[in-house]
Amino acid sequence: MTTHLTTPLGDEVLDLQAGDRVTLTGIVYTARDEAHLRMQEEGFPFDPKGAAVYHCGPVIGENCVVAAGPTTSARMNTLTGFLLDAGVRALIGKGGMNDEVLGLLEGRAVYLAFTGGCAALAASRMKVRGVWFEDLGMPEAVWALELDHLPLTVGMDAHGHNLFGDVAQRAQAEFVRMFPK
């Protein structure tokens, strides 16, 4: 079953479980390392309450999305706390985040995984609605992108479950069974 979510997000994200499928519609804000640092210093250019932050360095053409696949979220592990404190309800990216972030998500937000490399799919479900911090360059700027039912997987939920962590642990155990030494 797929849950349809629309931004701004509220308490409905608390009902989600790791492994659930969702679609997301509405505005998301891209942010990579540089944008996180800038927002920490200067504050948010958008209203963070109920917002979704997308770990993505997009390629934007003439006011259209050329490619906007997810970037590796783990790079932003230590830069995430202030987003959640300000009311951000969802982080979107690939690869998952660490236990510190898992703790921070508890009772307030979720991590959503977008399929790596799906550039054409992303481009077909996104429109450009605004941009801030353009001086950081196209991939590092904060872009407001409007999503139309982007398909996502709940990778980390608000109850302390991390699908990526569980899978990695099981893989490690299976490896030891296969090659005991």
């Binding site: 499928r21 490399g117 481009a123 997987t153």
Partner: protein, 278 residues
């Protein structure tokens, strides 16, 4: 027979490079698409099915819209076969560079090639000794491109095993896939080079990625099954499909040496071969 001029070779190689890159970036080879469809049909895990479904939708959309399959258009690795009568001149390498620069503008490709230490971006996907060009003799003049993304390239590994460790080859390959986890955008394809020298094993592993993935020998199938038992699944979210195929290439090696290289390829296993027309 008229002697082929350098400028004819330059033009023909440039055109072939341009054309091959255009095909490779937008359309996956049929064997790869078929393997992804088969994985989707066989997969029971709902999360894995959803991830594979997104991948298949993406492949179809790229074909319909003429847009690149993935935003990481990679760095081009080029393999050329040269028939008798075609001189091996610098025009070949220059033709490749010209074709890559043209494709960077027209497809377009993301400019990914930078100077290794200063990180200055050349803007055209060429650089010092880049793209990599590998030339071998053949019956026909063909050019194959393998655009290689960094997500999967970065988790590739090489090991100099002890000659007495031949049983450990399988372990090393599976361990490489385990360490890589979800980072290389699984389902992955593993190119494995066994033997040769340090450098040769890495090239064998890359060449193995040029092989069609619809068949595997017993050794390849066994490693593939082992990797799939890890349950990493598409994008590291779990499932039966971690690895679509394992392809192995071997070379003779020194009696005191056993190099093994594993080159990991993401699901967007792009490659295209075109004839160089003079």
């Amino acid at each position: 027979m008229h002697r082929v001029t350098d400028s004819q070779i330059f033009r023909a190689v440039s055109d072939a490079t341009h054309k091959a890159l255009e095909i490779a970036q937008i359309r996956l080879p049929e064997d790869v698409t078929a393997a992804l469809h088969a994985a989707y049909a066989a997969e029971r895990d709902p999360v894995a099915r959803a991830e594979l479904s997104a991948i298949l939708d993406n492949i179809a959309l790229a074909g319909e819209t003429g847009k690149p399959i993935c935003q990481d258009t990679g760095v081009p690795v080029v393999f050329i076969t040269l028939p008798p009568g075609i001189p091996l001149t610098t025009a070949i390498e220059e033709g490749v560079r010209d074709g890559v620069a043209r494709a960077t503008m027209s497809v377009p490709l993301r400019p990914n090639v930078v100077s290794p230490l200063t990180r200055d971006n050349s803007g055209n996907n060429c650089g010092e000794r880049m793209p990599a060009v590998h030339i071998s003799p053949g019956a026909t003049f063909t050019l194959t491109v393998l655009p290689k993304g960094a997500g999967s390239e970065n988790v590739s590994r090489i090991a100099m095993l002890l000659p007495s460790q031949s049983d450990d080859v399988r372990r090393f390959v599976v361990e490489t896939a385990l360490e890589a986890g979800g980072r290389p955008c699984p389902p992955i394809i593993l190119g494995v080079g066994i033997g040769g020298t340090f450098d040769q094993s890495a090239l064998l592993a890359k060449e193995a990625l040029l092989e069609p993935i619809d068949t595997m020998d017993e050794f390849e199938q066994q490693i593939c099954d082992d990797v799939n038992r890890l349950g990493i699944g598409p994008m590291g979210l779990g499932g039966a499909t971690t690895c679509l195929a394992v392809k192995v290439k071997r070379a003779g090696c020194h009696t005191a040496s056993l190099p093994v290289a594993v080159n990991i390829q993401c699901w967007a296993a792009r490659r295209a071969t075109v004839e160089v027309v003079l």
